[in-house]
Point group: C3
Chain length 172, copies 3
């Protein structure tokens, strides 16, 4: 794990990533958010490499290196299981999600690997209710270039609150 | 209307748009938001071509292809009428808007036409009240290159909630 | 102070800034937000030149040219004093901040000076509470190129509400 906030070096790192790759990275972040917000959960695992990590974790646990996480998956197969659970088996009141994601900060870009992060806010809208702040935090990511394009090798969603309005059903 | 969330192709589409045009597109999105937030409503129609479409529509109606919309205008003249109504004739408690808009996803860029979308969150602040989430959703856009720069041929604001805190007065 | 919302000229101004500089500017905005959200307050003054201005000001006062501000500092030394106050002497309930910041609009780029602005939303999370909208507005900035990279010569945070949930302790 890199020092996630070595931001004074970021301008330099961003300069060392070529513009085309940076814009692909931006597109990856936005496409990921867009697919989730459109409830196209079947497509969610496709944003990852096969041997991937996905975690949704409160900030305090992440900062202290504690393992406890709200969601923790360690392969694309586990992501697909989660999608199956979300779409086929879990009984829950559906809600809409809407992600607004900042531009990624590039911490490192070496070979086919990019280490980056971005702040996010996710809003939730339940039927017949007002939209509300649901989950805010940052993505801490490792991205690989694959023949199919950029994919997440690791995406850790580090959120600011230990409390959330109700249990989180869908990926962030 | 393109498949609005064909995101796996987005990185490719984004790569096919040249960097200068993409940054102009980003600037268009931000300038549009900035003008509305500054209450410069007179400038709002100038972000559109003459023969334009603007709609503000709940997500459920948009997804089902239903026509019902909170606002629906089909020419720059109708936009100007709306501005007149908002600034001169409507009796309402004024409020501030603040847009935070994600980076656009480019679905297609052919000739002088760009099909793109972006997530947005609009916050409302009424006098002597706290800022609050007002309207979240995504812009589904068709943008044309004109001699004066990029302009919206169509902007559909697809918002997540059917409920809104009170009636929407200003454009989103 | 430039006309802060001369947005129809923005696409032109953005085109006149070279792509590398623009992406450095984007990285500066995101790194600034990231450092504050990580509570690395010691690093906050380093985003500024020595002879700098930082103000946090309600929109109504800014728009009318009134001097009253929630925070107003006029040198890097004053910023360091504030950091000392925040981290060492102020008695307050700590809270997390999370910034989601739009892409900057470039109003002017002449020599080593950039005039730009960007919308922001800051969310606050207090211990054992839900995340909430805390402060929304726009950054009105003057940025200088220095040997160490881009730095703020002036950053004015113009926020939409005169009311805030409780007093603002940390910089925005």
């Amino acid at each position: 794990m890199p020092d996630a906030i070595s931001a004074m070096h970021d301008a330099g790192a961003a300069a060392r990533i070529d513009v085309g790759t940076f814009l692909e990275l931006v597109a990856l972040y936005q496409a990921y958010a867009s697919a989730l917000d459109a409830r196209q959960y079947d497509r969610w695992p496709d944003f990852f490499v096969d041997d991937c990590v996905y975690r949704l974790q409160p900030r305090e646990n992440f900062d202290r290196g504690l393992p406890l996480a709200t969601m923790a998956f360690e392969s694309k197969g586990m992501l697909k299981d989660r999608v199956y659970g979300v779409t086929q088996t879990l009984a829950h009141d559906p809600y809409y999600q809407r992600h607004v994601v900042g531009t990624p900060i590039v911490h490192r870009c070496v070979g086919d690997t990019i280490e980056s992060e971005a702040n996010y806010a996710v809003f939730r809208t339940r039927q017949n209710e007002l939209s509300e702040v649901f989950n805010v935090g940052r993505y801490v990511d490792v991205v690989h270039r694959t023949p199919a394009g950029l994919r997440f090798a690791s995406r850790i969603c580090v959120f600011d609150s230990e409390m959330i309005p109700t249990s989180i059903i869908y990926p962030i």
